[in-house]
């Protein structure tokens, strides 16, 4: 039976500040926060009443060439400040020099005073053709870990937004693009744990995230989605200089699939993840999510598709 990865509401500003204060100054410029916390900070920083429901704070180490050095320094500083290895679930022990690379855990650390969230260290792929998961060995004072990268994470590295805490957050539009490219179809793979009591397909969680980002972007600024295609195109050209035009046709296919009336159960799963994730402070409905998907198609995806 899967564990329920129930999460508590956290304040994006407070958590971001905690993370930033624990990062050595010399390496702050190497950190880009991605995922719910980055989105939460971008959309809710000026309203302390709005919180997000997340457990993992994904820290992208960038650029790739400095990632290993920065990762080791950051992990060692956090260990020194009594951050604790996450013990829940599998991958809860550090490896050693004999542990095969694919058996090493990722660095996942709780702050000393809280088990409600943890940071996870990731990096960007080495090249544009490196689209699968890749691990590199990270040697720390507490053992060996993996610093892993995924194909489209490099998009989150494009033009990040600097925060007043000295670390950066990824742009909502580039995070959305990475998720869209990662899920051109609704796959069968489910999340390792339950989300608020429900088993959810990974694609539905990530496509739901895209819709939540689009909804929040429109709520923050009228017509915000109309600006996304130009950012997407620039990010694709910068991070995938030779294959960007081949990637464009897959940007919209996952969203089109989830909009198919026969896939309403998948949209329902996406809604569930929004209700218990980024849109926890709102009251999203299936209809709202459907409309948001249609607006995203018309305002952002279709104009991008015209660029090929």
């Amino acid at each position: 039976m899967k564990a329920d990865n129930s999460t508590k509401l956290i304040s994006p500003s407070t958590v971001l500040q905690s993370v930033a204060s624990a990062i050595p100054n010399d390496f702050k410029h190497n950190i880009i926060i991605v995922g719910s916390l980055a989105a939460g900070y971008y959309f809710f920083a000026d309203n302390p009443k709005l919180q997000v429901r997340t457990k993992d704070v994904d820290c992208l180490l960038s650029p790739r060439i400095e990632a290993l050095l920065a990762g080791e320094a950051v992990a060692d500083r956090l260990f020194a400040e009594n951050w604790q290895l996450r013990t829940e679930g599998e991958w809860n022990k550090a490896g050693d020099e004999l542990t095969p690379l694919n058996q090493l855990p990722v660095v996942r650390l709780h702050p000393p005073d809280s088990k409600e969230w943890f940071i996870e260290l990731l990096t960007v792929p080495e090249s544009e053709t490196d689209l699968g998961r890749k691990d590199i060995r990270l040697t720390t004072t507490k053992g060996h870990f993996s610093l892993c990268s995924f194909g489209f994470l490099s998009l989150a590295e494009y033009d990040p937004i600097k925060t007043s805490f000295g670390i950066a957050i990824a742009r909502p539009e580039t995070m959305a693009l990475a998720n869209l490219l990662h899920h051109p179809t609704i796959g069968k793979q489910t999340m390792s744990g339950l989300i608020q009591g429900r088993e959810i397909k990974r694609s539905n969680k990530d496509l739901g995230r895209v819709l939540a980002l689009a909804y929040l972007a429109e709520s923050k600024e009228d017509d915000a989605l109309l600006k996304w295609p130009s950012v997407w195109l620039a990010a694709l050209k910068a991070r995938f200089p030779t294959i960007w035009s081949q990637l464009i046709p897959r940007v919209g296919s996952g969203i089109r699939e989830i909009l198919d009336p026969r896939k309403e159960a998948d949209l329902g799963e996406a809604l569930h993840t929004c209700q218990f994730g980024l849109l926890a402070s709102y009251t999203p409905t299936l209809n709202l999510l459907k409309v948001t998907a249609e607006r995203l198609l018309v305002d952002a995806i279709e104009p991008l598709e015209k660029q090929t």
Binding site: D223, V291, T292, R295
Partner: protein
Amino acid sequence: MKPIQYEVPVDNLPGFHVDAVSGNTAYEILLETKDARRLRTALMELASVASSSDLRQAVLVLEEPEISIQRLLKEWEGAISVIRPELSRRLSLFFRRSGEWSGTPTTPKNDEIQLLEEIVRHETSRRPIGVSRNTEAHYEILRILIHQWLLNRGPISINCLMEMAGSSHPTVSRSLERLEHYLKRYSDRSIELRIFPKDEWGRLLAVSDDVRGTVRFTDRSGHARSPESLLHRLRLLQRKDIALGGTLGAKHYLPSLDLVGNPRLDISIHTGRKALDLSFVKRLDPALEKITRRDETPTLVIHTIRRAESLFEPDGSEIPWADPVECLLDLHEARLESQALEFINSFPTTKNHPL
């Protein structure tokens, strides 16, 4: 595109005609249906067509159905489950909602969409409309004459009126006879209104929705886009056959008009005799849905101009303006009666002799 035959009799089904046949496919069309029973019947009829004729495929086409997609699919699955599999494989359901084609078990491809649009256009042109062509033409002529009169443009020749209205001589003559009481006729066969035709205007207001093919849309998401946002998107379309009317148009002609805010966007589309294509509404906002109840507040209101000349006022590269008469009708339609009176009394003809 393959040739299309309309109203084709079906072998072995005496007295039954399918709406269209192209190649070896039969098409039945339902326009704006809200009746699930009618849908079920049509599916069963199509199954009979498929089993009784040499036609290999049978397609039910729904143009802007007023039934939810979930309900449509449920009806489809219900019907298919009681039809023999070798027959059900030959049936399809295609539907267009807010200008977007979809279907089951497959979505129509681009070449099919072209064919479907032609068939729907044909069916739409046969459909009885709320007002007759003659009534429609009469009110187009009336609006042209009021436009001339309001802007103090002087007499207009009957030939010119025919050209502007896109109407024949007998149609224009009939209309002018009806307006005789308000007309001044000149020896050079030109005419003009001598006074504002209040009675005819009142009649026009009563049938304005039908005459102008008014269609209303409202937000169904609970997260409505503002009229300004819709306007911004309308600008991006760069359409010259669409003009701004309503409060924005009235403010353009009379900046001092007593109006605060802009509760909705009124636009006029110049279609001439072509069918109205509303597929662009989705580009303004996919959350907009057509409403028919007058007690619902619309976000977007679209009026159709069927005369030959639009009378739109160009505005450089911007969206053109609907003519003042359309703007005036829009104000009445929005129940802005005092503003409508203020507006009509601001023109050269009425300034010194208010109505």
